[in-house]
Amino acid sequence: MFLYPEPLAALVESLRKLPGIGPKTAQRLALYLLHAPAIEAEGIAHSILEAREKIFLCSVCGNFTDVDPCVLCQDVSRDQSLVCVVESPRDIIAFERTRDFRGLYHVLHGVLSPIDGIGPSDLKIAELLQRVQGGSVKEVILALNPNVEGGATSVYLSQLLKPLNLRVTRIAHGLPVGGDLEFADTATLSRSFLGRQEL
């Protein structure tokens, strides 16, 4: 059965490797790239190459950056004594949207998961320990996803950080703001009882 000429087949296969892209979307994107003016396709190819070339991980926090240290780490108006530990650069973007957190970040690039063969040495944990030993950091906020792996990673980090005379905190678990109790799932609701606060 003939489907695509070989270069097109190669393009479809490459696009399929992208997250969230299935065979049909890959085909649609590939055909679009062939239909579009040559300059557009070249522009996309160029952006990919340029991004790969110029973007690297910040030597301080591990976020993606084109300058080292990254703009967040260089920003002196930020509270240098607060470090928020996150799983991936995506989480930084989410926190930055709030514009409320004015401290620094540290990206682990994953969480502990023995099933996937991810141990402490596969994460940026050594970098974090080195960073907080400088003395300027007073508090580490663990902002990992509230699932089994995130929880275990938080516990692991707290065991390593507490002996260093730091305040170690975890972001709250519970009900979403502006949400309706009625629509919350049972796990979240019972968790919110555990994390209740005195008024």
Binding site: S113, P114, I115, P120, V148, A152, S154
Partner: protein, 370 residues
């Protein structure tokens, strides 16, 4: 209670309409007449999943490409129309309550149901995992959060066992999984203990009226504490589990598995102080299993504050006449019971109808038969 049942292309039924009465209904007929299939259909409608872990495909009538189970339920004065339909081609299952689509399993709230079958003898004779599954089901019926915790627990356990299998890790790493395991595990154990206590209290009363001799007792067995002295307090469970993990750490590391925790716990039943699995006859074991199921039914009824339907598949086999009468008498207290039998009814019992050419119906209210 279930008022009427409609089966279409379900198992051996091409089409069946049945108006049910309350009280005690007995379906009598030869082997292969479709008595159990009928209970299976009712159970499926109430529970949302097939009994005996049957595949949906296997439930479709030969030659048909779908099945429908429909029923009207009267519960606390309100009427609900329940429907479960399955299509063979698309493998789609649709649950409807009062004509509106709903989640599978949503029917349980309208039609709580408990089934007893000959296979439940395994509750006494079978592997510990069957007893844990039974208890966890009973716990989940009264504390829904239990299901989520069991799911989390199994995820954490898999991660911890994977780490143990790798063989090389830091102490802090295993401790971080332990802490999660203990937090969720303690909730599971504490809920199990509290529900098991209630279940045993009910079972003991039921068993006393079913059997001529003996007092039923049950214990929750955990390797965490050798004596039967677990307390249902969550903090106590947390500490006990934590200590046990610590104690068995080197063993766990050697065997590359987690050797203690709620996933290794068991239930044990005793008749007159003797362990049922070892010393009881088949008939006595059956009565114990039946008592547990009737207790589950009563517990479910009180949780749902309406009477749960009790289905009894082939309940009278292996029981002598005296015990049959006792079982009948005990069950006549329930609002609605449906039982199947091949042999039970004798001359003089008057049939109240013919459901299919092969299945005869007998109906009793209260202690009519006794």
């Amino acid at each position: 209670m279930l008022e009427n049942l409609h089966l279409r292309f379900f198992r051996n039924y091409e089409s069946l309409d049945w108006q049910l009465g309350n009280g005690f209904t007995v379906l009598s007929g030869p082997n292969g007449a479709g008595k159990s299939n009928l209970l299976e259909g009712i159970f499926y409608l109430g529970a949302g999943y097939p009994y005996r872990q049957a595949q949906d495909e296997a439930l479709v009538h030969w030659g048909a490409d779908f099945f429908v189970i429909r029923g009207s339920v009267l519960q606390n004065g309100l009427k609900y129309d329940l429907e479960i339909a399955y299509q063979l081609g698309t493998k789609r299952k649709i649950t409807k309550i009062n004509g509106k689509r709903d989640l599978p399993g949503a029917c349980t709230a309208c039609l709580p149901v408990v089934i007893f079958s000959p296979a439940d003898l395994l509750l006494i004779q079978g592997a510990p995992s069957l007893r844990r599954r039974f208890l966890d089901l009973v716990v989940t019926q009264s504390r829904p959060q239990h299901a989520a915790d069991l799911h989390d627990y199994s995820n954490i356990l898999t991660q911890r066992n994977n780490l143990l299998r790798q063989g090389v890790f830091q102490r802090a790493e295993i401790l971080s999984w332990d802490e999660q395991l203990v937090a969720v595990g303690a909730r599971i154990i504490s809920r199990r203990l509290s529900v098991f206590k209630t279940l045993m209290d009910l079972s003991r009363v039921v068993f006393a009226s079913l059997s001529r001799n003996g007092e039923l007792d049950g214990a929750y067995i955990s390797q965490m504490i050798p004596q039967y002295s677990l307390e249902e307090d969550e903090d106590f469970c947390r500490q006990a589990f934590k200590d046990a993990l610590e104690r068995r750490r080197s063993l766990d590391e050697r065997l590359h598995i987690t050797t203690t925790g709620p996933h290794r716990d068991d239930l044990r039943f005793f008749l007159q102080g003797h362990e049922a699995q070892l010393y009881c006859s088949q008939g006595e074991q059956r009565l114990i299993a039946l008592s547990l199921k009737i207790a589950q039914n009563r517990l479910l009824s009180s949780v749902q504050s309406s009477d749960a339907l009790l289905l009894l598949d082939d309940v009278f086999s292996e029981l002598d006449t005296v015990h049959r009468e006792k079982v009948l008498k005990e069950l006549s207290r329930s609002r609605q019971v449906i039982a199947t039998t091949t042999s039970f009814l004798e001359e003089g019992d008057s049939a109240t109808g013919q459901l299919t050419p092969e299945i005869t119906l007998y109906q009793a209210k209260g202690a009519e038969w006794l």
